[in-house]
Amino acid sequence: MAAYHRPSTIGAALELLAAPDRVALAGGTLLNADRAPSRLEAVDLQALGLNRIETVGGGVRIGAMATLGEMSESPAVPDRLRAVARAEAPSTLRTLATVGGLVARRRPDSLLLAALLAHRGRVALAGPDGENEEDLARVLGEGVPAGTLITAATIDPTGAVAVAATGRTPADVPIVAAYGRRADGAVAVALTGVAPVPVLADGSDPTAGLVPEGDFRGSAEYRLELARVLTRRVTEELAAAGDEGER
């Protein structure tokens, strides 16, 4: 980093970020890990008051600067989702990594992003004209719109949940994972590891339209097979849980 800024208002942050070679610094687990010389200037968002996690209406609003650790301990967040937040990063990084940073980073293998998708995640974005909300799926697909700043993610915390994943070891970042949620009788399954970003799957044909990119942990063919198997498992588990499970 060539320079460091710590604005205290969202307006000041947006103004700083509007200049070239400026980059938002959330938890720093990604940005600060790269020690190569850079012209970039960091705009640290820690003083913006964006770390609250609260119940708003029927949903939960998770501030963009709330850490994964804070999310994993918040009583406002459903148990299974807390566990997923905890598993997203090890102890020494989850105290730094933020929900906003997670969304901005758009990692294809993030189970927490898949979970937010299944919980009808939306992203609050602050821009020059104020704050508005976008579907998380759209933000993941298209990236954070230029000139805006993630201020929160909101989710519907209700419903029954099932998770299935395949990795090299129990705590490995899954090669492919399925996060299923059943609410109001409808099942949504989000998948990781089968597309450039986590995606909501078609329950009847979970691999429809997917063209995963293979790597050393799993070929495209294998990832599609995992998508089928893991989607079936979470779907069956949610079906077995029935309406009672939603409560």
């Binding site: 060539a2 710590r6 720093g28 600060n32 102890s91 070891t169 050393f216 294998y222």
Partner: protein, 974 residues
């Protein structure tokens, strides 16, 4: 910019650059407990409490920390005594190298402040961000539980082994009843099965706290990077982007012109002196195929140039400014292709000698044989052949390679370095830098793990060259990616076994062919492969044996020494093959192996033919024999602990509630060596101090293994004093006696015997002086115990009185003893390795749920450090079997040079690990000891493989058992 924050409760104000990490700033402020493991924070070695929460200081910028509270473990160092949390970690042997001790202690502090009685899951979750390459996390978990108990006001029992009754007579097998439950106890506690032949001793065999526990628990400056000479420069290395290329032009003018750059070295300005970098005894095995900087590069990451500059950042930028033109050459990576016609010739220079066939990339062709193999196969009723492939992994010490070199006031070269081989390094460095050995001093401080990667003169020549060029101290530390692709790794191999068996299931012949991949340089390439042969052909008796091996050059990152040293490769193939032979014969696998494995009195017939200086064939006058083996006790304890009988329980193997899961248990017979006979040598010097304590100087190199402690215990036992009265100083070539170094499972056995003999010499003189003071004619009747010399008539004199008398009163002398030791023997430790797995037959995911190792290491001098070696070794071996792999792309670039993509086990995903120490009395070892450090690396991969076979009926002969590989094997089988 100015940063103000709270550090350990006090205000701190520092100047920091915007790019600087909090780790760098804390170290600059003298917080040496905060260690570098990587820049991306995933090792946790630099974790601190950030506003009370555990967080990696690698990925917190100093600027971010402005206004926050930071706590390091130094905050606990308010008195000479240890804080209760530090004390708990020391008490249970939770540290090996202690490189990440500060992070673990701080994590425990934060956890216990939030929850005074945390669950084991919560403790493991806390530890999930601190990678430990040395333990299986069992003892750190126990330390947190113990600290919690102490802080709650409980007084836990002293930590020690769980002593068990033997299940056998030590010789004959015994049947294990399914109703026989294994003993209950925490996983961190070794189960110790004593031998009647081993007497009770005062210090040996006791769970003594490590002699370096205080400095490690407090995070005191103990490691290479913790001392910074004034005016120190920082080095960076320009590395090759190509797997194979000739350097046609190099222009360093822009780099040299950059302010702050003090030297730039490359092949154009550095003497061309050929060497082999493996840290081995003189004369190092040929070929000498390396130079400090060459005009040809042979793997991605190979050295091109090095820069010394005022800061790391300037050095890194200068490296980028060096202009290099390459003539890119074809490359070859797979050992099975290296000798093919048309394969690129990797060593085409004319000044490398003793390559077997450079045109075919064949470095060595090795053979050894006993008996008439051809007749045995021609007449055998059963013959079997299988081929196995083992892959490339990295040692992954959390402390990367780091060296600091400077010229002292006498113009001698001093190198403070993270090495396992300080004496070899001194000798090998001398010709490269044009100095005499006498003008070089190599100091080994504490090391943050080595595992063989540091049995190498890897970067010491670079810092020494730069120190000469600049006449200033120079420091070079590898980053994590460099540690992966530019240090050393485990040799990949393709291994073929042929076995001939008679009608009764007895082996008639075994024939092993190893095609070893030594990468671009031959370092350790010869010896590692012969150890594969040694391990592959020593475990079972057969009247005819043959070992054939081709070692080839390729363009992969350089293989070298890695704990186990060829053993894990050979034993994976052997134990998988023997399992399959048993199944093919319809025999019980344990009965079949037991019928054939070596027993007390059997000759180790191939061993003398497989050595650096061994004859390949022909009868020798004498062959070494097995003199001690506790394998039957290991088997009984291991089978009971594993619940072996469940292999025959369909309800257990196919759990009704998880229809896609199959369970299995696998076994591997493990056998290793103890030191290299007639080669490994250790020295020790002991002197008496005024107060009756002793200084002990040893060349042995403690990597975190506890060698200083164990060798101190041996001396303390002889001298009749507590361990605390032995002050151990190890590994400084100017000060301590010679030692070959920490490798080949030799330290306790070789260096420990040197210490035993030096202590015996001191004891003899102490008795003589005591006899003089007590006016007794026969000094040999005097016994040393409890810091006193006791006469048979009940009178005694203290060692302090003897010291004061001899140093100050009469017939003045310094009572001291010096000894060295080399052994003609190589007594093997034995072990029963068992693994329990669950296989998801739909996805191929393998979950290892339990590892059991019952090991006969002779007498464990310290059962806690010994069990720590087994726990940690098994965990590394589990990674080898299950999830670790260096992956190269088509151009030879490693695609996963960071933790995460390169997966090593962390605390919250470990299987249960249980260790049994089965005592035997090995008369050739100090107080009966044999080796323990490497045998845990041998059996895990075949045991997991055989467990998968037990669970699914599918045999997989390639490592590692990653989900897609298993899934494809299951599909092919179906």
């Amino acid at each position: 910019m100015e940063i103000a924050f709270e550090l350990n409760g006090a205000p701190a104000v520092v100047e920091a650059a915007p790019h600087e990490s909090l780790r760098a700033v804390l170290r600059r402020l003298g917080m040496f407990s905060v260690h570098y493991g990587s820049d991306s924070g995933e090792t946790g070695a630099a974790a601190v409490l950030f506003d009370g929460k555990l967080a990696s200081a690698d990925v917190i910028s100093a600027a971010q920390a402005d206004g926050h509270a930071v706590t390091t473990v130094e905050a606990l160092n308010v008195s000479p005594e240890l804080d209760p949390i530090q004390a708990a970690f020391a008490a249970v042997g939770a540290f090996q190298s202690g490189y990440s001790a500060g992070a673990m202690i701080l994590g425990a502090k934060a956890l216990l402040e939030a929850d005074p009685d945390p669950s084991e899951a919560a403790i493991r979750d806390m530890l999930s961000g601190i990678l430990d390459r040395e333990t299986a996390y069992a003892k750190p978990v126990e330390a947190v539980k113990r600290a919690a108990a102490v802080l709650r006001g409980d007084r836990p029992e002293p930590f020690g082994p769980l002593v068990l009754e033997p299940m056998t007579d030590g010789v004959r097998p015994t049947a294990v009843s399914p109703d026989d439950e294994p003993p209950a106890g925490p996983a961190s506690v070794p189960r110790l099965v004593p031998s009647r032949e081993v007497p009770d001793m005062a210090v040996v065999g006791r769970p003594e706290v490590k002699v370096d526990a205080v400095r490690l628990a407090k995070g005191n400056p103990a490691f290479t990077d913790d001392i910074e000479p004034r005016g120190m420069l920082y080095a960076k290395v320009l590395r090759s982007p190509h797997a194979h290329a000739r350097i046609t032009r190099i222009d360093d003018s822009k780099a040299r012109g950059m302010p702050g750059v003090r030297a730039v070295l490359h092949h154009g300005n550095t003497p061309r002196v050929k060497y082999a970098s493996g840290g081995q005894s003189w004369p190092n095995p040929h070929p000498y195929d390396q130079v400090s900087f060459d005009d040809k590069v042979r793997h991605v990451g190979d050295r091109v140039a090095a820069v010394a500059a005022d800061t790391v950042e300037i050095a890194a930028e200068a490296v980028r400014l060096i202009e290099v033109d390459y003539e890119v050459l074809p490359a070859v990576f797979d050992e099975r292709e290296a000798m093919a016609p048309g394969a690129p010739v990797i060593h085409d220079e004319d000044d490398t000698h003793h390559i077997c066939d450079p045109e075919r990339n064949l470095v060595h062709h090795i053979t050894a044989r006993r008996g008439d193999l051809e007749s045995a196969f021609a007449t055998a009723p059963h013959a079997f052949e299988q081929t196995f492939r083992v892959h490339q992994v990295q040692q992954c010490p959390i402390e990367p390679h780091i060296s600091v070199a400077w010229l002292d006031s006498d113009e001698r070269m001093v190198v403070r370095t993270a090495t396992q081989v300080p004496f070899h390094t001194r000798r090998m460095l001398a010709p490269l830098i044009g100095m005499d050995i006498k003008d070089i001093r190599v100091i080994k401080p504490r090391i943050g793990g080595g595992f063989g990667a540091k049995q190498e003169m890897l970067i010491e020549d670079i810092v020494a060259h730069l120190a000469i060029a600049t006449r200033r101290p120079v420091r070079l530390e590898l980053d994590r990616a460099e540690e992966f692709y530019a240090s050393r790794t485990r040799h990949p191999q393709t291994i073929t076994f042929r076995t001939a068996v008679d009608h009764d299931g007895k082996l008639l012949a075994q024939d092993m062919y190893v095609l070893g991949n030594t990468g671009p340089y031959g370092t350790h390439g010869f010896t590692v492969q012969i150890v594969s042969g040694l391990r592959g052909l020593s475990s079972y008796n057969a009247s005819a044996k043959r070992f054939t091996c081709d070692v080839v050059y390729t363009n992969i990152p350089v293989p070298g020494a890695y704990r186990g040293y060829g053993g894990p490769q050979g034993e994976f193939a052997l134990e998988a093959h023997m399992e399959d032979v048993a199944r093919a014969l319809g025999a019980d696998v344990i009965d079949f192996k037991r019928l054939n494995w070596v027993k007390v009195g059997d000759e180790m017939d191939i061993a003398p033919h497989l050595g650096e200086r061994a004859p390949a064939e022909g009868e020798l006058d004498e062959y070494p024999k097995i003199m001690s083996s506790g394998i039957e006790e290991c088997m009984a304890q291991g089978l009971r602990e594993s619940g072996w009988h469940r292999r025959n329980d369909p309800a257990w193997k196919r759990p009704a509630d998880r229809p896609h899961i199959r369970r299995g248990i696998g076994f591997a017979f493990a056998m290793h060596g103890t030191a290299i006979p007639f080669l490994d040598m250790g020295g020790c010097s002991i002197k008496l101090n005024d107060d009756g304590s002793f200084n002990m100087l040893i060349g042995a190199t403690d990597l975190g293994t506890g060698a200083d402690t164990v060798i101190g215990q041996i001396a303390a036992e002889v001298l009749g004093v507590p361990l605390d009265d032995i002050k151990v100083y190890s590994s400084d070539t100017d000060v301590t006696p010679f030692d070959t170094g920490a490798y080949a499972s030799s330290t306790t056995y070789i260096s420990g015997t040197a210490a035993l003999r030096a202590a015996e010499a001191v004891r003899k003189r102490l008795k003589e002086r005591a006899a003089m003071l007590l006016e007794i004619d026969e000094p040999c009747t005097i016994e040393l115990r409890n810091r006193r010399a006791h006469a048979p008539d009940g009178r005694s004199v203290s060692l302090e009185e003897i010291a004061l008398d001899s140093l100050h009163m009469q017939e003045h002398e310094q009572i001291m003893g010096t000894a060295s030791h080399v052994s003609p023997d190589c007594p093997p430790p034995f072990g029963a390795q068992l693994a329990e797995v669950e296989v998801d037959v739909e996805t191929g995911q393998v979950t290892v749920t339990k590892l059991v190792m019952a090991v006969d290491c002779g007498v464990a001098i310290n059962p806690i450090t010994a069990s720590g070696q087994v726990e940690g070794g098994m965990t590394q071996a589990l990674g080898y079997a299950h999830c670790e792999e260096m992956v190269l792309d088509d151009e030879g670039r490693m695609v996963n040079p960071s933790f995460g993509p390169y997966k090593i086990y962390r605390a919250d995903e470990m299987p249960e690990t249980v260790v049994y120490l089965v005592q035997t009395m090995e008369d050739s070892g100090p107080f009966g000891a044999k080796a323990v450090a490497e045998i845990p690396k041998d059996g895990v991969a075949p045991a997991v493989r055989n467990a998968i076979l037990d669970a699914t009926g599918v045999a997989i002969n390639d490592l590692p058992f990653t989900p897609e590989r298993v899934w494809r094997a299951l599909r092919a089988h179906a």
